[in-house]
């Protein structure tokens, strides 16, 4: 076998095994998108009911006051929570959400305030560490299947920092899973909780006999942190679904490219093989002619 043919065949083999890997990752990501979507769906009833309970408190008591709802006038430090993935190979997923995070921080600085960075996901941690940006807190190791306990841990830490005025606002950069083909990295304000979120749009009347146990204020004390944790959990779940959708898309592109490359390389291999045969035939024909010429002479 000629040298050229050998080289091309080796490349085909290597591209083929890469294709097998990317194809497997594509399939795994596809099945995880479905699971992640189911988790998003499963979390909705709780979030909905919690919001309704909160709205009931707001409606029954007329006006609500709580530290988590308070717009602070003198806010020097603003928290930015960036939700990224633990693993790469997800196309532009991480760079998109990190860009939103950077934009949020830029906006904070333009108001003359100091951003405080919180990061979820290994990729985000690596990004900020490389750039020497100090992180107040970071969490990693659960980006694909975020458990509720982690959301609770993150939410509790954020509320603590908010309570001691370490941060006076909190924004979150995460990726919204609109559909398997439309992912949108967005920035949202999580704290203080906007008054319109609590009041809601429902027009149910005030019920004279409504009971609260303990009082509405104490209930709110538990409801509002729970509400924030639920929002963090939703952001983690949306991001997890998006991560898998982005990975599936990236791996599909890689598989398609590998197929294309294999096609081109196969043509090259065929041509090299054809050339080799042509050379061999002309050598044989040449040799035979030389022999017959010698016999005649």
């Amino acid at each position: 076998m000629g040298a050229k043919l050998r080289v091309v065949r080796r490349r085909i083999k290597s591209v083929q095994s890469t294709k097998k890997i990317t194809r497997a990752m594509e399939l795994i990501a596809s099945s995880r998108i479905v699971k992640a979507q189911q988790r998003v769906e499963a979390s909705r009833p709780y979030a909905l009911q919690l919001t309704q309970a909160m709205e009931d408190v707001a409606r029954q008591t007329g006006s609500v006051a709580h530290p988590l709802l308070e717009e602070r006038e003198h806010s020097a430090r603003v928290g930015v929570l960036v939700v990224t993935s633990d693993r790469g190979l997800a196309g532009s997923y991480n760079s998109n959400v990190l860009k939103v995070g950077e934009d949020l921080m830029k906006e904070v600085r333009s108001r003359g305030l100091e951003p405080v960075v919180y990061v979820a996901g290994k990729k985000g941690v690596g990004y900020f560490r490389f750039r020497g940006v100090p992180m107040r807190r970071s969490w990693q190791g659960f980006s694909e299947v975020p458990p509720y306990d982690k959301a609770e841990e993150i939410g509790t830490a954020l509320i603590e920092d908010f309570a001691v005025h370490e941060i006076n606002e909190l924004h979150c950069a995460y990726t919204d899973f609109l559909s398997a083909f439309t992912l949108r990295a967005t920035g949202k304000r999580f704290l203080p909780i906007a008054a319109h979120e609590v009041r809601g749009g429902g027009a149910r009347g005030v019920h004279a006999e409504y009971l609260f146990e303990p009082g509405p204020a104490q209930i709110l004390d538990h409801l509002l942190p729970q509400y924030l944790i639920t929002k963090v959990y939703a952001a983690l779940l949306e991001s997890a679904a998006s991560e898998n959708a982005a990975r599936r898309r990236a791996m599909k592109a890689a598989t398609d490219n590998a197929e294309e490359l294999i096609k081109i390389l196969t043509r090259q291999a065929n041509r090299a093989r054809q050339d080799e045969i042509t050379t061999e035939i002309s050598e044989i024909v040449g040799g035979a002619e030389a022999l017959s010429a010698a016999a005649e002479g």
Binding site: P45, A53, D56, A151, Y210, E213, P214, P216, I219, H222
Partner: protein, 138 residues
Amino acid sequence: MTVEVHVVTPEREVWSGTAEQVIARGAEGELGILAGHVPLLVRLSIAPLRIQTEGGDWLMAVVDGGFLHVTSEEGRTRVDVLAAHAELAGEIDLQAARIRKEEAEVRLQSHATRLAEAEMASARAELAKAVARISAAG
């Protein structure tokens, strides 16, 4: 007259259906909810939750705190139980709960003098969760 009951956690809907009554332990004591109850919002303790289903059978579950919300719409009473974690009696791992209880007890006893307030509270909550599970499953 029955009530519509939904027991939900952030991760899943644990149980939903119609029931005769629901008995839970609120922050200020036990309470039973029957059809026609006035609107109510209660903070729950870490405790067993009992639901009497339509046939009269009792369904046991456990909730790690959370809220119980009673609303009524057009005469129908609806009870929502919202908890960070909740399990039906059949889902409880009794063995794990016993181990959890022992560990929490050890933590409370051996370090009672040295533990910070927050750690004490978390150990007590752990103990309460384990005890509630054992009593709901038993």
